[in-house]
């Protein structure tokens, strides 16, 4: 059990903000931390890692990592941290990056094999692709058999195909090691695939804490399916109005009435939903 109860005043682009988080995490959970930028997600991770000071208490199992009297330094917490920009040591080879944490050759070899990096183990980070670098970073974070694995938007700098591949690897590692994980992510499909719990932060406070299904699937009432998107344009085609909505990577046309058209504003977030039809799924 990890018990987080912390407070910290942040001075961000939107002025002063109070980060106040009270969270209990069970061992082995995979938590996705979501929320708009500036809501305090990264700071929360850094406080858990001991890289930033805060008020309050932090208990992991029967160890006290932080209370009113003392703070355990990051070196003694046994944390794995994956940064968005990889943060590898450029002067060390892939293998040396891993062994820097702990001289555990067996574990290093196992991790490199699991992530398909064994052939690259003697390369310097500068010669690797983004996906490969993030794999190394992930392996390095697992090298001290961490009590908590913290990941700060680990995949957001990668292209979609690489992202899917790495999601699979993160999942494999999580299944193998059962490490309690907190990952900052904005990508709903990523959260859905990996996490068993989503915590949404807004202005330093938790506004939602539930399963990915409950948080991410935005259907309500009798709607059968619904998508959120951005209204890009409203065009008149003969006598009807057509709204062009961007949902994910796709553009969708929706027929609307002139009254509806008048109430919508280009650029706003809209929900496209339907009730009556049975959707047809077919192979592509």
């Amino acid at each position: 059990m990890i018990a987080i109860d912390i407070c910290k005043t942040l001075y961000g682009s939107m002025g002063e903000m109070e980060l106040s988080v009270d969270l209990r995490i069970k061992e082995g959970e995979f938590i996705a931390l979501a929320g708009e930028s500036g809501s305090g997600k990264t700071t929360l991770l850094r406080i858990i890692a001991g890289l930033e000071k805060a008020r309050g208490t932090l208990k992991v199992g029967d160890e006290v990592w932080m209370d009113a009297k003392h703070t355990l330094p990051p070196q003694k917490r046994k944390i794995g941290f994956v940064f968005q920009d990889y943060a590898l040591f450029p002067n060390m080879t892939v293998l040396q990056n891993l062994l820097f944490v702990q001289k555990d050759h067996a574990l290093a070899t196992q991790l490199l094999a699991m992530t398909g990096l064994d052939e690259l183990k003697d390369r310097l980070p500068a010669t690797l692709s983004g996906g490969q670098k993030q794999r190394v970073s992930l392996c390095r974070a697992m090298m001290n058999r961490p009590k908590i694995l913290l990941m700060d938007e680990p995949l957001s700098a990668l292209d979609p195909a690489m992202r899917t591949k790495l999601q699979q690897e993160i999942l494999t590692l999580h299944k193998n090691f059962g490490t309690t994980t907190i990952m900052v992510s904005h990508d709903p499909s990523e959260i859905y695939r990996l996490a068993n719990r989503v915590v949404v932060l807004d202005h330093g406070r938790i506004i939602q804490d539930d399963t990915p299904k409950k948080v991410l699937l935005k259907t309500s009432g009798s709607q059968k399916f619904s998508f959120e998107g951005e209204l890009l344009d409203i065009v008149q085609v003969d006598i009807i109005m057509v709204a062009i909505v961007s949902i994910g990577q796709q553009l969708v046309e929706v027929v609307i009435s002139p009254d509806e058209a008048a109430s919508l504003h280009i650029g706003e977030r809209v929900t496209v939903s339907t009730k009556a039809f049975a959707p047809i799924l077919s192979n592509r």
């Binding site: 890289l51 330094p73 940064f83 943060a87 944490v101 390095r140 001290n144």
Partner: protein, 232 residues
């Protein structure tokens, strides 16, 4: 060739380089923790320390030299202590020159090191802490190997600056042949006695050496940057 160099003593050059070498070595060891601390600290003391460190850049060498002369003289506790305890005089000898040079060249060692440390990715340093490595270990295993060009610049510029110093040396050391008469002081004296031939030769040697040293630094930095993938 031998005719041209007749009567030219190498002693002042050797002394200049010996002084620069010793000063660079001492400063490297002393500046390393200071630069590392300044790059990492968020303390309110930081601007104060930075200002003190940078003072030798703006102070006239005569002012710096005067204060050092005064502070190390027998009339004040430091000078008196060294003379009574160890029997060492701290002014008008080589030891005094080294002490004065360490003050004079301090910013040239600290500043490139500090900006090298500050250019490092903070996440990379944090990663090292999270990996269980102490601040010292991180300094030696992660920070230092990744600021080689900055270190090279710090060492060379400190060395070159010490070779090139004049005012402080003259104030604290005087001009004792073989003890404190370094190349820059020797040239000054040659001009004073209107021995322009020797002054020309000495100056040309200084110019050539300085240029070669700087050229070496820039070539090294270029090669190093290429090796690390062109960034920095």
């Amino acid at each position: 060739m031998s005719e041209l160099f007749a009567g030219i003593k190498l002693e002042p050059f050797l002394l200049s380089f010996k002084l620069a070498g010793v000063t660079t070595l001492i400063l490297f060891v002393m500046a390393l923790p200071l630069a590392w601390y300044l790059s990492q600290t968020r303390s309110k003391l930081k601007p104060f320390l930075e200002a003190v460190t940078a003072l030798p850049i703006v102070l006239p060498p005569s002012v710096l030299g005067f204060y050092i002369l005064w502070a190390l003289s027998y009339n004040l506790p430091v000078g008196a202590f060294f003379e009574e305890t160890f029997g060492i005089k701290l002014v008008f000898n080589f030891t005094g020159l080294v002490i004065a040079s360490c003050f004079y060249s301090l910013p040239f060692m600290v500043q490139p090191m500090q900006s090298g440390f500050e250019s490092l990715n903070q996440n990379m340093l944090d990663a090292s802490y999270v990996c269980g490595r102490s601040r010292w270990m991180t300094l030696f295993k992660v920070a230092l190997p990744n600021i080689k060009p900055a270190l090279m610049t710090a060492i060379i510029v400190t060395f070159a600056h010490t070779v090139g110093e004049f005012g402080v040396v003259l104030m604290v050391g005087g001009s004792i042949p073989g003890e404190t008469k370094v190349a820059s002081v020797a040239i000054y004296e040659m001009v004073e006695i209107m021995d322009y031939r020797s002054a020309h030769i000495y100056s040309a040697i200084m110019l050539t050496l300085s240029f070669l040293v700087l050229l070496g630094v820039y070539i090294f930095n270029r090669k190093h940057n290429k090796k690390l993938g062109g960034f920095q």
